[in-house]
């Protein structure tokens, strides 16, 4: 017997407002020229947001646009365009989708009229990043410049000490902070050169302060999801991540999380959960979602499984937990904030032999959010966030406890690898495993 397919329902009103914000971000890149503003292609979690905002540069996020194309199931034309240029399908599909769109826009001399949500405006500059997060963040700009030859590139660096159980990261972190701050200063010079404007350092400092406040508020808000039943799950978080990810350093973003915070508190008071009956609480500890298949979260919810917590797009922490050294230099502060964030779970990992910082983070969330199972998502075109997932799952079982784990497979943008029936069968089987584990433990 086939079950009636329910449309994806958003648990929060705040999440439902996100599509408007994403459209506005795209639209800003198209209108920028009329408004005398410069547009920069840029990338998330690079520590460069505050500089871009303080310089009044309009960020254009290829990762966001590719996600929109995927969610609209309209990415194939751009993927094929890139493939025809010899970009392999095995490369990052955020990048190849975005480059395919760039090629189309250059060929037409204007934004293709059928571009999802109005497309992205042509950039005046590309701000990339070299770091331990993702090779495409410096390769994508180079590849894009092949088609936008007049557009200058800046690639900054933001590294952090690698995990080594035998080394205290604090012994070397100053090397990293100094380097990251120098690279941010070079970005300021690049932006000044290409906008013809000088940096307003007071405005930058205020923007950095606003980010600090936003990080704190974001974490406070997300921690409300510890409530049983949880008032919001990962299906929503894949929307509510947009402000902190793409609009960091803006008052609008801070205000957004104030609203979300109030909404979640109200839901907790009313005991309104995500599922009709919350049977299983799960963590989404790693993996970008298949943007064309966000309905799969609803499929979990319909089975009584909810995700009160995820690691994906939760790239922030309360600043008091990071114990940041004091500095009067806003760029050095940004560097400390990110370096300390990426190394935040090192101490915990050192205390548990055989563990890993990423696994410690998962364990912390499993405990705090009282999770019964773990669902990873492995994406074939992205090594950055997905290589190492199998190992994390292995270590988690070894150092923590036997806990049901599902590793789903797919892609962020390329729908050709997706089979809904197979995916749902795997979820069904996992739910049975969760139920069996629950019976064993009761």
């Amino acid at each position: 017997m086939t079950e009636a397919k329910k449309p994806r329902s958003l648990a929060t009103e705040a999440a439902a407002r996100i599509s408007k914000l994403v459209r506005a971000n795209l639209s800003a890149t198209v209108k920028a020229r009329e408004e005398g503003k410069k547009v920069a292609y840029t990338f998330i979690n690079n520590g460069q947001d505050e500089i871009i905002r303080a310089m009044d540069i309009v960020p254009a996020w290829g990762e966001s646009f590719a996600g929109v194309c995927a969610a609209k199931r309209d990415a194939e034309k751009y993927l094929q365009k890139a493939e025809a240029e010899n970009f392999s399908r095995s490369l990052c599909t955020y990048a190849t989708c975005s480059i395919g769109f760039d090629i189309s826009r250059e060929e037409l001399g204007e934004i293709p009229p059928d571009a999802p949500w109005g497309g992205m405006g042509r950039p005046d500059m590309i701000i990339g990043s070299a770091q331990q997060l993702c090779d495409p963040r410096f390769k994508w700009p180079q590849a894009t410049q092949h088609y936008l030859r007049d557009v200058p590139i800046y690639v900054g660096s933001m590294y952090y000490p690698p995990w080594d159980p035998n080394m205290d990261q604090r012994d070397v972190e100053k090397i990293y902070v100094k380097y990251a701050a120098e690279e941010l200063r070079a970005l300021v010079r690049f932006c000044e050169k290409h906008t013809g404007r000088k940096m307003d350092w007071d405005r930058l400092a205020a923007t950095v302060d606003l980010t600090d406040k936003t990080w704190n508020l974001f974490i406070d808000t997300y921690e409300l999801r510890k409530a049983i039943p949880t008032p919001m799950d990962t299906g929503d978080a894949m929307n509510t991540m947009v402000p902190i990810t793409f609009n960091l350093g803006t008052q609008e973003t801070y205000d957004y999380y104030l609203t979300l915070n109030a909404e979640l508190k109200q839901k907790i008071v009313e005991k309104k959960g995500v599922a009709e009956v919350e049977k299983y609480r799960l963590i989404w500890p790693a993996g970008l979602p298949s943007w064309f298949a966000l309905g799969d979260f609803q499929y979990f919810n319909d089975k009584g499984a909810v995700f009160p917590v995820e690691v994906t797009y939760r790239n922030a922490e309360r600043l008091d937990r990071l114990d940041l050294p004091k500095t009067s230099d806003p760029l050095e502060h940004v560097a400390w904030r990110w370096v300390r964030f990426w190394t935040h779970w090192y101490d915990a990992a050192r205390k548990r032999p055989g563990s890993l910082p990423k696994v410690e983070r998962i364990i912390e969330y499993i405990e705090d959010y009282r999770c019964d199972g773990v669902v990873f998502h492995s994406t074939y075109s992205c090594r950055s966030w997905h290589a190492g997932i199998v190992h994390q799952a292995e270590v988690l079982k070894k150092v923590y406890r036997e806990i049901p784990i599902l590793i789903m497979e797919g892609d962020i943008v390329d729908i050709s690898t997706y089979n809904e029936a197979d995916t749902h069968h795997r979820i069904d089987a996992f739910i049975e495993t969760l139920e069996a584990a629950k019976r064993r433990n009761s």
Partner: protein, 386 residues
């Protein structure tokens, strides 16, 4: 200590087919062996530390059977294959491992390597991607952190004098290898692509002084050859990452072309750039690895001119085309490789602008389906030859 027999190409054959055998012998004689991945392995520092540096390779003819249980299949097939080899005990004589930050496939799997192999020494060398001045200074600090960790492991200080000696030894080794490459410039080349691939693989598995002596023995043998009559007109260059198997060279040369040059990471990419002799040896070493190596994982911090940037990244390829009389190029790129993969359109058009034919192939680090590769390469050679 037993000596390695230096019998030119016969030694190359032996070391190619029994890769790592010399390192294993040296280990049995009490030396410490440190394995490393990629062109970014700082061999001067390993040599100065008194250990045997061994560049790791996989086995292209063997399926990955254990590694896939621990490492995702969208990781670089080369990295997965080497890891699988290591798990199967092919490198059971290693004392340690150095994984430089080349790409996501290495960076994101470092934990898998260190936990899977459980070697007494393991180090992730955080090489930056950008080549600007702050990056160079950062990299020098990172190399010093590496030196300190190596000193702790070996119990021996790595002096500036030892580093300077190692720099000289490796520069000399590269100079001898470049002289051997010169023997490919004649028409026909004095050494075939298949032979050269074996030499490159053999050389990367030896301590530097032995490697140099080995190369000199190959030189002596090859110099004595008299050029045969040449019925082949096509002179090819191979471009890619770590191509350490003769399969592709064999296909090319059996199809009637010569493989006369490469831009691969066990070949010209590592043998062309020397370390400058600087008062602080770390400075020269850092400059070589960060700024002189032409690999797709490094980039300029700021690029205003696309044309100048292409020249900086790929200009050496055009020089090779002229110097080695190349008229066709194969870009052999491993699947799931973002650094090389994103370069394909720009590199291909840059090379084509010099008048050579370019064939782009994406494949696995595997020789399990040679027929498919053979058909495609033969078709290209036939097309270019017409």
């Amino acid at each position: 200590m037993t000596q390695l027999e230096m019998k030119g190409l016969a030694t190359a054959d032996k070391l190619y087919s029994q890769y790592g055998s010399r390192a294993r012998e040296l280990k049995a004689q009490g030396r410490k062996v440190i394995g490393y991945l990629s062109a970014l392995g700082p061999v001067e520092i390993l040599t100065a530390a008194g250990v045997v540096p061994l560049r790791l390779k996989g086995t292209t003819g063997e399926a990955i059977t254990i590694g896939d249980a621990h490492m995702e299949t969208m990781v670089c097939p080369f990295v997965r294959n080497v890891f699988d080899n290591a798990l199967k005990g092919k490198y059971d004589y290693l004392d340690g491992l150095v994984l430089p930050h080349l790409c996501d496939s290495i960076d994101r799997t470092y934990d898998t390597w260190s936990y899977g192999l459980k070697l007494p020494y393991s180090h992730f060398l955080n090489v930056p991607h950008v080549t600007d001045d702050p990056s160079l200074n950062f990299f020098k600090s990172i190399l010093r952190v590496f030196i300190a960790s190596l000193e702790k492991f070996t119990g021996q200080k790595i002096t500036d004098e030892a580093l300077a000696q190692a720099v000289n030894a490796h520069n000399h080794n590269r100079q001898v290898m470049r002289a051997l490459y010169d023997m490919r410039k004649s028409d026909p080349p004095l050494i075939s692509g298949v032979e050269m691939t074996k030499v490159l693989v053999a050389a990367m598995g030896l301590p530097v002084l032995e490697s140099t002596a080995f190369l000199e023995s190959v030189m002596r043998e090859v110099k004595e050859r008299t050029p045969s009559s040449n019925e082949r007109s096509l002179r090819m260059m191979l471009v890619g990452a770590q191509i350490d198997d003769i399969a592709l060279a064999e296909i090319i040369e059996k199809a009637g072309a010569w493989l006369v040059m490469d831009d691969i990471t066990i070949g010209s990419k590592v043998y062309w750039p020397d370390v400058d002799i600087t008062p602080d040896p770390i400075h020269g070493i850092a400059e070589r690895y960060l700024r002189k190596l032409k690999i797709p994982t490094t980039c300029a911090g700021e690029v205003d001119s696309y044309k100048d940037d292409l020249q900086e990244r790929f200009g050496h390829l055009k020089r090779f085309v002229i110097e080695f009389g190349v008229n066709a190029v194969i870009l052999f790129i491993y699947k799931y490789c973002d650094p090389y993969g994103f370069d394909v359109p720009s590199m291909k058009s840059f090379l084509e602008s010099s008048g050579v034919s370019v064939f782009y192939l994406e494949d696995e680090y595997s020789t399990s389906s040679p027929a498919r590769l053979k058909t495609r390469v033969e078709a290209f050679i036939e097309m270019v030859g017409q």
